[in-house]
Structure formats: C-alpha cells, structure tokens
C-alpha cells in the first residue's frame, strides 16, 4: 500500500526525538550522521516546525546537480542522492530554497532526506504523531494545499 509522509507542525512538541532517530538511522561506522530533519521554532511560543525535505515536484537540487547524482526514486517518490556520484561541489546545498540539502562535516559528504527508502524512521519515533505515515486513498490530491492567507473569520 502506498503511503505518504505527513508533517503536522501543530502536533509537534519540539522534543527532537526525530532528529535523534535520524542521526542514529544514518550513522556510519558507529559515528552519528547529520540529522536530515531539524526542529525549529515557528516564531511563536511552543510552536515547533519539523523542517524536512519537501521532495519538491520541480526540485532545485536536482536541477543544480551537474553530475546527475540526484535522482527521484520512482518507487518512493523521494529525491535521492547517489553518494558514489556526488562530487561535493555544494551546488545543491546552496540551491535548495528550503535548505534541506545539508553538508555532513563529520562524514565529509552531502546528505538529504531520502525518506529512508520509503519508511521514514523519524515517523516511527515521533511520540505526538506530528510526523506520520498515512495511507494514500484514491481521489486524494498529490499534495495538500497550504492556505495562502489567514482565514477571514476567526471564531
């Protein structure tokens, strides 16, 4: 069954368990990896936003890669970085308008969220379901539309 990785910032408690889970899941030779997900404050008290790659429809990182190291995995829908092909030119890190292509200094490599191959570890560890995997039912839009302005009537 196909699922979708859903981020619901209003449910996030800012506990950063997702960051820990991500770091551990991407550890190499016992050294923790850089977390692909970051929990940042949303400009209000107790409002936390888990910032993670949005797997854009027209990704700037893929466009910026001059050696074709970034490709979309048709099975998971995630944009994946082929570490073998990456030449560390930092073009994708600079080009991503959401800053979700990162440079892992400890392992000296560029990293980005690949949805853990279709089963994101962070979603399993999130205690408040701010990060979740939801099954895709038919007639559902590809992406949920974000509101572009504040609701006119505040109850």
């Amino acid at each position: 069954m196909k699922s979708r990785f859903v981020v619901t910032p209003n449910l996030c408690t800012g506990c950063r368990t997702c960051e820990l889970a991500c770091s551990f899941a991407h550890a190499i030779d016992g050294k923790l990896g850089k977390s692909r997900i970051t929990v940042l404050n949303g400009g209000m008290k107790d409002l936390w936003i888990p910032v993670v790659c949005l797997q854009c429809d027209d990704p700037a990182c893929v466009k910026s890669c001059l050696v074709d190291a970034l490709r979309r995995n048709p099975e998971t829908g995630a944009v994946e970085l082929n570490q073998e092909k990456c030449v560390k030119c930092m073009a994708c890190v600079a080009a991503c308008p959401f800053g979700c292509s990162l440079f892992d200094e400890q392992h000296d490599m560029v990293v980005k969220c690949d949805l853990c191959g279709g089963d994101p570890v962070c979603a399993h560890f999130c205690p408040s379901e701010a990060l979740s995997l939801k099954p895709i039912t038919e007639n559902q839009p590809h992406r949920q539309q974000m509101p572009t302005s504040a609701p006119s009537t505040v109850k």
Partner: protein
C-alpha cells in the same frame, strides 16, 4: 542479467556494467584511486587490476583493470590472487616513489606491507599521480577549465597557459575529489583562490556564512534556470525562513481554534 563468479561466489550483474562496480557491490575492497562513479572509467592508476579466467580458457589467465572491463557471463574473477597482489604491490611501490609525501599513498602502501619504496624517490615530488580525475570531473561538470599538459616526464595538470583559467568557477570539485589532495586552494575571508584565480564567495545575507562562489551561482542560475535569489542566504537560514513561514500558517489555525 549476467552471472559470474567473484572470489568463488556467484554474483549477478547487469549487461554492460563494469567489473569494478560489481566487485564493490559484493563488498570486496580493492583499491582504485582514479575511479569515480560520476565520470567514465579511465584506467589510469591500474590498482583495480584483477585476475580473470574462464573454464573454456583451459587454465589461461588474464589480468585486466576491472574499472574498464565489462562483465561477461561465466567469468571467473579473483581479486586477491598472489599474482594480483604482486602486481598491485609493484604499482604501489612505483606510486610511493612518485608521491612519497602523500598520506593516502603511504596508507595504501602500509596496507600492502610496503614501508619504503624500492625505487628512487622523485626529488621534488608534487604528489600528483596524473590519474586525470580532476580534469575528467571538470569536463563532466561542463567547465573543462583544466587539462593535462605536456607529455612524458613533463606531464602535469594545469589550466591553459598556466594562467587563471577563464572557464573555472571555483566549485572545488577537482580539489575535493583528488585522491592525493594535491590541488591547492584557500578560502580566506570573502575570497576563494584556486588555480591562481580569485573568486568572491557569496555571503549569507542573514548570518554571514560563506556558501559557493558568485561565478558558480551565476552559471547554475543561467544554465539550470534556478533563480539567483535562492543563493542569497545559506542553508541554515533557508530552513529558519521555512520554519517562520510555516509557523505563520500554523498560527492562523491556532487562532481559529481558540
């Protein structure tokens, strides 16, 4: 699908794949200094040499560079046979004479039990093994700013006429992927210097962190149709901006609830 035997174990490979890729996929470590998946195989360092044979060859064996050898069905590969080890040792011995100061070459030599080269060391060694990985990556990225010049003893990697290369954008791909780390560059203040050319680094408008060079951003913006405004701030500030924007949207729904 092609079936072949590597070190006694059956391995599967796609038609047209190179032997080195298949060997590495099996988890077998063999040294290869000039190899990078982003570029076409070149076979400069010869360290990935392996022994191949087939049943119908009646005991005849061949030694090939695995990075350049396409897989064949029923191929029997030995990556660490005594002759292969001997060949590799000789190559490392020669490399050690050429690059006595390179850490990577010295580590490799140590792995193969060589502490000192049996050849005469080059007096003013520059540590370049002339594998051409830098020039090939530069070419692959579409810049082609550097190339090998001269022949024989005088062969070296250099920009045209040894002057600041006009096509270089300062992406550092050549320097960061050099197997012996010989390409010099400096990042000081707002400027990056490589191949005697100075580049201005983009400074994050919010936190002041240095990102890529202006020239590189301009090339990406033009050729790949990425708005120049994407390069104005660093990745960390981009994330903060996204959090602020999403925070704004979330706060509306909070107000609606309350």
């Amino acid at each position: 699908m092609v079936h072949l035997i590597i070190n006694g174990k059956v391995a599967q490979a796609e038609e047209g794949e190179m032997l080195l890729t298949v060997i590495r996929r099996q988890g077998i470590e063999i040294p290869a200094l000039c190899h990078h998946e982003a570029v076409e195989p070149f076979g400069a360092c010869r360290l990935c040499t392996v022994e191949i044979t087939k049943e119908e060859w009646n005991g005849w064996k061949n030694h090939v560079t695995s990075c350049l050898y396409p897989v064949e069905s029923n191929l029997i590969v030995n990556t660490h046979s005594p002759t292969v080890i001997e060949l590799r040792k000789t190559l490392i011995d020669l490399l050690l004479a050429r690059c006595p100061n390179s850490l990577k070459i010295r580590q490799l030599a140590e792995e193969y039990g060589i502490t000192k080269t049996s050849y005469e060391e080059i007096p003013d060694a520059d540590n370049c093994i002339l594998c051409g990985l830098c020039t090939r990556i530069c070419d692959q990225m579409g810049f082609d700013a550097i190339s090998t010049v001269d022949r024989g003893h005088g062969k070296r990697v250099a920009p045209p006429f040894d002057e600041a290369p006009p096509d270089c954008v300062g992406c550092l791909a050549c320097a960061l992927n050099c197997p012996t780390n010989v390409i010099e560059f400096t990042d000081e203040g707002n400027y990056r210097t490589i191949w005697k050319k100075q580049f201005e680094l983009i400074t994050c408008a919010k936190c002041g962190k240095k990102t890529i060079t202006k020239e590189f951003a301009e090339v990406l913006s033009e050729s790949r149709n990425i708005p120049m405004s994407y390069f104005e701030i660093c990745d960390e500030c981009h994330r903060k901006e996204l959090a602020q924007a999403m925070g704004g949207i979330c706060s509306w729904s909070r107000e609606a609830v309350s």
